[in-house]
């Protein structure tokens, strides 16, 4: 098996890349100008993280692939992002809830990785952390306002949370790669993050009047490259240009 750090870098990079691509579809369409710009800022931050992680993955792999080649010339079964980030945008409630759930996980994950003995992983994590702290503060504040807002905003946020919940579990699925990473003391098992993440969600939900679904039935498979149908459509749009005109430059 190849270097387990390659898989970790891919997982971090793919999560950021796919969510950035999804959020960027709101550019020019968000409900208010302020949200439009804020969401585009988040997308750009995530795109920056994806570039660093996929760059690291390419470096660890040591073959001739670059971050761009990893982003534009892999198929769905080679992507390692969680199922949550590939869920369709649907509406602003779903997009915001997806962002919030991602941010809560992302912050905890980066806090751990920023202490990693592998210097490159730690450095990328520390760099991303500054931005992600703000992402989480922002999405958390909006989720609380809308959860505890009007009857309609509450219902829409709750429905979004219910619909996304089983896909959120995809972040906490362990694999053989994670055991290797754990043995190398590079990262902890994904499932070990869940109690901390759940504690944060419970605190926020108390204030937002939203209810965390009780079910812990998780959609699985992303760690082996088994994705939902929607990832194919995302990649088709994202990769179209490079696949049609390979190596074209901006």
């Amino acid at each position: 098996m190849s270097d387990p750090r390659f898989h970790l870098a891919l997982r971090m990079g793919d999560n950021s890349l796919i969510l950035a691509q999804q959020n960027s579809k709101w550019c020019g369409h968000a409900p208010t100008l302020e949200e439009d710009i804020a969401l585009a800022n988040v997308s750009l931050d995530l795109m920056g993280h994806a570039q660093m992680w996929l760059g690291l993955a390419a470096e660890i792999e040591g073959e001739d692939r670059t971050a761009d080649i990893l982003a534009f010339f892999r198929d769905t079964d080679e992507f390692r992002n969680s199922l949550l980030v590939e869920r369709p945008n649907v509406d602003f409630a779903t997009t915001l809830m997806r962002q919030y759930l991602f941010d809560v996980w992302h912050l905890e994950q980066l806090l751990l990785l920023s202490q990693c003995p592998d210097i490159l992983i730690a450095e990328i994590s520390q760099k991303a952390l500054v931005e992600v702290e703000y992402h989480r503060q922002r999405s958390q504040s909006l989720v609380m306002k809308l959860g505890d807002g009007t009857v309609e905003s509450h219902n829409r946020m709750q429905e979004a949370l219910n619909a996304l919940w089983s896909y959120f579990g995809s972040f906490f699925e362990d694999s053989i790669v994670d055991e290797l990473l754990f043995d190398l003391k590079i990262s902890s098992m994904p499932s070990s993050l869940y109690p901390r993440v759940l504690k944060q969600l419970n605190q926020d939900c108390l204030l937002s009047t939203l209810k965390i679904p009780e079910s812990e039935f998780w959609q699985k498979g992303a760690v082996q490259g088994h994705h939902t149908e929607n990832l194919g459509y995302i990649l088709a749009e994202m990769q179209y240009l490079q696949r049609t005109y390979p190596n074209s430059k901006w």
Binding site: T32, L33, E34, I37, A38, N41, Y134, Q137, R138, S141, L142, K145
Partner: protein, 94 residues
């Protein structure tokens, strides 16, 4: 029924500025959201070191129709400008 959120005015103190300058306005439900939105909308290009947000409704403005009595009296009082004094060369800025 209006669906617009309350309006806020945004003031930014830049990298080299000493005073906050009015840069524009935005919509937000409360101070926290106004601050976040100000950060996202007005400091994307590293413009700011400090942000003030003020509810637009809290700003007391002079009335354009009363500008005569407010401003006209000072128009012909040129002796209020310090242009009748010789400024010593040692004084750099005034």
């Amino acid at each position: 029924m209006t669906t617009e959120l309350p309006l806020w005015e945004v003031f930014i103190r830049g990298q080299h500025g000493t005073a906050h300058r009015h840069v524009g306005s935005l919509h937000a439900t409360d101070a926290e959201m106004a601050m976040n939105n100000a950060r996202d909308v007005y400091t994307r290009r590293n413009e700011g070191l400090s942000i003030w947000v003020v509810p637009s409704s809290e700003i007391v403005a002079s009335t354009p129709s009363k500008k005569g009595p407010l401003f006209d009296p000072s128009k012909d009082k040129i002796y209020r400008h310090p242009s009748f004094y010789n400024i010593p060369e040692e004084v750099k800025k005034i």
